[in-house]
């Protein structure tokens, strides 16, 4: 249970400084508007803000009332209004309406807009167009790194995925570069850099540029983190689309972990109340089960419960003095453990109930068949039935995408029939969703000439690249063949199992998917770290359509301690899943590494599908 780290595993840097930094900067910005003010906060910023500050801190800095930025207008009587928002057009319109209504009523107030993590010119343009540029003052709160856990930093930008991978908008690349720059200022330099993907490469280049522009403050410092690895989400959609079966991933899939905490409803808390619970390394019970395959969690919780019982039982034979000691010294800890234990048992129960209802076993079987590439017909009709029965639209979409990516696109007949049935079951407007998925390369139709030889495809690639002016579909460059089957073979992603895969004693990262599949993203990272380069992985890189987009950058001067060389920062552009985090934590324990995760947002299959959906629920 809960494998300990190797004794020589390096210590993690202290990331709590990032929280302090963000909070101090916010306070500074609030002080720029002295006096009482009302604060309007965008819904998406509330949870991240909750993690670094609380109401009393805001009150100390003369924030009077708090409002949520939403569609309906708010009635505030304050003389000063402060808006804390993401740089989005609709927020600008909201503010403009408010300011213009004041103007019409002949009312003058002070307005301040704080953009987080940065402002966009498009937003300023809207302020200008609405005639309120100059009436409002703008500032930036560069809060782009939220430590969700000791080894997990999130930028809390779920929209990164859609903006970049669907729309091809590079607006967040600067934000990523700035975040990396901040990290290297605080914890750098990073002697070894690797990356794969277009976005990874661009972010890396911009980051380097930032470093060059600032005088090299980090030069001469001893590196704390030996390696940094940047990876685009579209290198591996498959992993993100799979159902998660490690505990933390399963909790995320079932209850949605939001900003590191989860709302356990009455069905979990076995009371009439919901409870918001922080899920991180500080929760001792959770910390021991988070990376476990779900089937192991029961055993662990039972053991824990028995131990707890035994400890409580000790009080039976106690005299008064011993009892006093017990109450003053142990009871609090026991009670805490008791509370956590009953919560996680409740969560397990609730997960079991839900998963049983949706025929989870059958679902997993289908997913495994898709990953391994057998019984394609059977899987297709399973998906079809899913659609016909109007089972969750997101789930059906996810399975179709998984089928498409593992098979290099659906055969035209299946594509058409599944699409038709999907539109009939879930609404015709999903036509737009299908168009999005095709553009992002998540759900495609095999073109008639898709079984080309390598030479042919090379030629056709050259043609499309050269004829840049006349590509009818600009997104052809974004939506490429996935080659999953070939990559899987090359990287041995489907472990050969002789006998049962013992999930209690995992032997490789495949345990996060019940031993059926090693997450591609994690395998790539493992291979590159082993080689300290992309050497020998040319074929894989080519299959990933990344011949020019895989890079390595090592500094020659070797001041890095052996300890820091085993500390690796992995940057997921477009989101990473808890399964990937668990897999890499496992790899770390095996090899004596420690991984630190930086992600644009924690994601899962449902979030990816929702990001592509045009129809908002």
């Amino acid at each position: 249970m809960a494998f300990p780290h190797r004794p020589d595993a390096p210590e993690l840097p202290d990331f709590s400084m990032l929280k302090r930094l963000a909070r101090d900067q916010l306070i500074y910005l609030l002080e720029q508007l002295p006096g009482k003010k009302d604060l309007f906060i965008e819904a998406d910023l509330m949870s991240p803000l909750d993690r670094i500050a609380n109401v009393s801190i805001l009150k100390q800095h003369e924030v009077d009332k708090l409002y949520k930025v939403e569609s309906k207008p708010a009635v505030s009587s304050s003389e000063q209004l402060c808006f804390l928002v993401r740089p989005r057009i609709k927020n600008m319109r909201y503010i403009a309406n408010l300011v213009n209504a004041d103007k019409l009523a002949g009312r003058t107030r002070k307005y301040k807009v704080i953009f987080s993590p940065q402002k966009f010119y498009a937003c300023e343009m809207v302020l200008e167009e609405e005639g309120i540029y100059g009436d409002v003052s703008c500032d930036e709160w560069a809060f782009s790194l939220l430590p969700l856990d000791v080894d997990l930093l999130s930028m809390e930008l779920p929209e990164f995925f859609r903006d970049y991978f669907l729309e091809g908008d590079q607006r967040w690349i600067n934000t990523v570069a700035q975040a990396l720059h901040l990290l290297s200022t605080l914890y750098g330099p990073f002697p070894n850099c690797y990356g794969i993907g277009r976005c990874a490469k661009m972010s890396y280049e911009l980051w380097r540029k930032l470093e060059d522009e600032e005088d090299g403050e980090t030069k001469g410092r001893r590196p704390e983190i030996g390696h940094i690895f940047l990876l685009d989400r579209d290198m591996d959609f498959v992993t993100a689309l799979c159902s998660q079966v490690v505990y933390e991933g399963l909790v995320d899939d079932t209850f949605r972990i939001k900003c590191g905490s989860v709302d356990f409803g009455p069905e979990v808390t076995s009371s009439d109340k919901s409870l918001k619970v922080l899920l991180n390394a500080e929760d001792k019970v959770f910390n021991e089960i988070r990376n476990e395959h779900f089937s192991n969690v029961f055993g662990f919780l039972s053991q824990k419960a028995r131990n707890l019982q035994a400890q409580y039982d000790r009080r039976r034979g106690m005299d008064i003095k011993q009892m006093k000691n017990f109450v003053s010294q142990e009871l609090k800890g026991l009670k805490q453990e008791h509370r956590l234990l009953s919560l996680h048992i409740g969560a397990c129960e609730s997960i079991m109930k839900k998963k049983t209802k949706q025929d989870f076993q059958e679902l997993i079987k289908t997913e495994h068949a898709l990953l391994e590439g057998f019984n394609i017909r059977e899987s297709t009709s399973y998906i079809e039935e899913h659609i016909d029965r109007q089972v969750s639209p997101i789930e059906s979409l996810r399975l179709m995408c998984l089928l498409s990516i593992t098979e290099n696109g659906l055969i035209p007949k299946d594509y058409r029939s599944l699409k038709t049935q999907y539109l009939q079951s879930y609404g015709p407007e999903h036509l737009l969703t299908f168009s999005n998925l095709r553009r992002a390369g998540l759900l495609t139709e095999q073109a008639p000439g898709d079984t080309l030889t390598a030479v042919e495809s090379k030629v056709s690639k050259l043609v499309t690249d050269k004829a840049a002016g006349k590509i009818t579909d600009a997104f052809s460059s974004l939506a490429k063949r996935s080659n999953f089957r070939a990559i899987s073979k090359k990287l041995n992603l489907i472990p050969r199992v002789d006998g049962e895969y013992d999930l209690k004693v995992p032997r490789d990262m495949a345990y996060v998917f019940s031993g059926a599949y090693v997450p591609l993203s994690c395998r790539i990272i493992e291979q590159v770290l082993e080689r300290r380069s992309w050497q020998g992985l040319d074929e894989v890189v080519r299959l990933l359509n990344c011949s020019e987009l895989a890079f390595t950058d090592m500094t020659r001067e070797d001041k890095a301690s052996s300890e820091s060389l085993r500390l690796i920062l992995v940057v997921f552009l477009g989101g990473c899943t808890f399964s990937e985090i668990s897999a890499l934590r496992f790899l770390g324990r095996e090899k004596g590494y420690r991984f630190i995760f930086l992600t644009t947002a924690v994601t899962n299959s449902a979030r990816l599908m929702e990001a592509m959906s045009e129809v908002k629920a």
């Binding site: 302090r20 803000l49 909750d50 609380n54 009332k65 600032e214 016909d388 079951s425 015709p428 840049a468």
Partner: protein, 465 residues
């Protein structure tokens, strides 16, 4: 835990859980059950004063004192301001949610930032935060970027782009020749910063004619994508459509136009709008979907008007017994079919609301039709209809059970609607010349509702058309 012991036994032992198996599951489950009991039995020992280490949580589930909680409070009390504030104050006093350490310094933070002239030197702040003496902070932090304005007009494209990247206000007016403008754009693209690319595009859009702008972007795909996304975001539909037209991206043009229907709430107007979409250059396949969308909404409007009237009149038994839960407008086709099977099952094919009419108009496959009709009729407990769905006569006049879907699904649906075993599809018919000899324990399957292990046997014997 208000579940009775009996329930619990059934819950853990029911065949349902077998569907989700891991190794040694019986063992694990009983362990879990045991541990749950153990933990529950401990509850009375600790419950009384449990609160001290719990987060205070409001009814909405937010920890009291958290920001999300506080916002809800404001929303709820914004009418009676004074009272609300008092409440807020008093509740806030016991806020215990993730208390953060107070800043180590007692100075106002702004004093550290004030008077700092040289960017890059941040000595004062790092000194002040005594617990991090060795680190120096990122120089960009804490500097409100709007303060630094520079109206100098002599920046080269690369200088300009660098300044833009740093969020500084910077005039682009000196880039007047097309060549200058394009150079600026290319410089922006080479920096990869989408925000800067968009900033330059906003300038180009303002200062170039549409045709020239489009022409130049056609060969600059990265910039083109940014312009398209920008136009989508600000909602400049007209220019977006012009752009697609210019680029000859007919399908995107059509989809983009079609997307607008989502913003039209009024069903009649939406219908009219969909009508304008029918002739657009969609792919052949999508054209059919658009046509169907229009026809579906057209039907729904008719059915809705009619049924609302019937329901209001209160004369129809069906609507009195089963009042409609929601309007049928804008629902998917399958939902509409379900609705029609529920309320209009026996209607003649000629009426728009009859299931058969829907089936024909939209070419709904047998499988989908049977599945939906089954669900609807079973919900109404109209077991005869259910029976009839699967009964066909062969040429000798014998009746046969046939189903285009697996019988295990049929059983499952029936079970969910608690079909009496006697009248379920297998037993209801008197004509037991049925060619489906049923395994004797089908009853058990029906009752447990579990995934039946007889799928294979049944599908061997049932002729699936």
């Amino acid at each position: 835990m208000n579940r009775t012991k009996g329930d619990e036994e059934e819950y853990w032992n029911s065949s349902k859980f077998k569907a989700f198996t891991f190794d040694d599951e019986d063992d694990e489950l009983s362990q879990l059950k045991e541990s749950k009991r153990a933990v529950n039995s401990l509850r009375d020992f600790v419950d009384d004063d449990d609160d001290d280490d719990l987060e205070r949580v409001s009814w909405g589930g937010e920890p009291v004192g958290s920001i999300s909680w506080s916002i809800k409070e404001t929303a709820g009390t914004s009418v009676s301001n004074h009272e609300g504030r008092e409440q807020l104050k008093s509740r806030n006093s016991f806020s215990s949610y993730a208390p953060l350490p107070k800043p180590t310094s007692t100075y106002s933070l702004s004093s550290f930032f004030r008077g700092r002239t040289r960017p890059g030197s941040f000595q004062s702040l790092s000194d002040a935060l005594s617990d991090t003496p060795a680190k120096s902070y990122a120089p960009e932090l804490g500097r409100p970027k709007g303060e630094y304005r520079d109206y100098s007009n002599d920046w080269s494209p690369s200088d300009t782009v660098r300044r833009l990247r740093k969020g500084k206000v910077c005039s682009l007016e000196r880039f007047r020749s097309l060549q200058d403008k394009l150079q600026l754009l290319e410089e922006a693209v080479s920096m990869h910063d989408g925000n800067v690319i968009t900033a330059v595009l906003i300038f180009l859009k303002r200062t170039l004619s549409k045709e020239i702008l489009f022409r130049e972007l056609e060969v600059r795909q990265v910039a083109l994508r940014h312009l398209i996304h920008f136009l989508k975001e600000i909602g400049d539909q007209k220019l977006l459509l012009d752009l697609f037209r210019f680029l000859d991206r007919t399908e995107e043009l059509a989809l983009s136009h079609y997307r607008e229907h989502l913003n039209i709430q009024d069903p009649e107007k939406r219908k009219e709008f969909l009508k304008t979409c029918i002739g657009l250059p969609f792919s052949a396949e999508d054209s059919a979907h658009i046509q169907d969308h229009y026809t579906l909404l057209e039907r729904q409007i008719i059915i809705e008007a009619n049924d609302r009237h019937l329901e209001a009149a209160g004369q129809t038994e069906m609507f009195r017994k089963h009042p409609r839960k929601a309007s049928i407008l804008n629902m998917p086709l399958v939902t509409t079919l379900f609705y029609s099977c529920f309320y209009h099952y026996t209607e003649a094919e000629g009426t728009f609301s009859s299931p058969v009419n829907l089936k024909k108009t939209f070419k709904i496959p047998d499988k989908q039709y049977v599945l939906t009709a089954l669900a609807a009729r079973a919900k109404l407990r109209a077991w005869h209809d259910v029976d009839a769905l699967f009964t066909t006569k062969n040429w000798l006049g014998y009746t046969k059970k046939r189903a285009p879907i697996g019988f295990h699904r049929v059983v499952e649906i029936l079970h969910k609607n608690s079909a009496p075993v006697q009248s379920s599809v297998f037993y209801g018919s008197e004509n037991d010349k049925s060619e489906v000899p049923l395994p004797t324990d089908i009853t058990g399957v029906c009752q447990s509702g579990g995934r039946c292990g007889h799928k294979v046997e049944l599908s061997h014997q049932v002729q699936v058309p």
